[in-house]
């Protein structure tokens, strides 16, 4: 019987896989975005906005940010688990991290929705 702890890692391969899957998604998006910038060479608002106005690019950008936030959740949670030993403080920091990242997701939806 595994001794399950509330502020533990939930003992699965799931997060390990998600951290890597989100990394690959972000890596591909990064290359695509740099390529788009290199081709378009945006120097005006219209040109810059044009890169993200395309439906596919908007979807890819949203996917990038969701990947970034999930990836950051796993990484930052690992940092709290490595360095913060008091359970209460660790739980507080985990909740604050998750809350910030969920909030950022809403923020990104707003930004992309207005384009």
């Amino acid at each position: 019987m595994v001794n399950r702890v509330l502020v533990g890692a939930h003992y699965g391969l799931k997060d390990w896989v998600i951290q890597r899957a989100t990394a690959i998604i972000m890596a591909i998006y990064t290359v695509v975005l740099f390529a788009a910038i290199a081709v378009v060479r945006p120097d005006s608002f219209a040109a810059w906005r044009g890169i993200f106005a395309n439906g596919l690019m908007k979807f890819a950008t949203f996917l990038f940010f969701v990947s970034l936030f999930y990836h950051a959740w796993i990484g930052i949670r690992d940092i709290w688990m490595d360095y913060v030993k008091p359970d209460g403080l660790r739980l507080l920091l985990m909740i604050a991290t998750a809350a910030a990242l969920v909030g950022y997701t809403g923020w990104v939806m707003q930004i992309l929705g207005r384009i």
Partner: protein, 130 residues
């Protein structure tokens, strides 16, 4: 019994001046620090992203900010953090696939990560900021 003997013979070296983290270790801690740094800067970056895409006026504000030398320096550093995290991350993915796990190749690949990420930082950072 054998264990006790080994414990006694184990060399101790707590002289901090002679202990040095090997390059893959330095890569590893920068990977963690860069991830934490990018996380902490997320609100600023999202605000910049929002401004750049909001309207022609907010775009001009964001663009104006990027002409400030100090902002350029911070962003240049951030680009390096991102690219180090990117390159070191690819190295970790390859290690996950059991590619380059031997000591010699692991040391060599960490050198490659530093060389490539720093070169890319000057190339991409230079192209985007100057």
């Amino acid at each position: 019994m054998a264990e006790i003997t080994i414990k006694k013979m184990r060399p101790k070296n707590l002289d901090l001046m002679t202990i040095r983290l090997p390059l893959p270790g330095i890569l590893s801690i920068i990977h963690r620090v860069s991830g934490a740094g990018i996380f902490l800067l997320l609100p600023v970056l999202l605000w910049l992203f929002q401004s750049s895409l909001g309207s022609a006026e907010t775009f001009a504000v964001a663009k104006g900010l990027l002409t400030h030398p100090l902002v350029k320096l911070v962003l240049f550093g951030l680009i390096w953090l991102y690219l180090h995290h990117f390159c070191a991350g690819i190295r970790y993915l390859l290690l996950d696939l059991h590619l380059g796990v031997e000591l010699e190749s692991a040391r060599r690949s960490s050198k490659i990560v530093f060389a490539v990420s720093i070169a890319l930082t000057f190339f991409i950072g230079g192209a985007l900021l100057w």
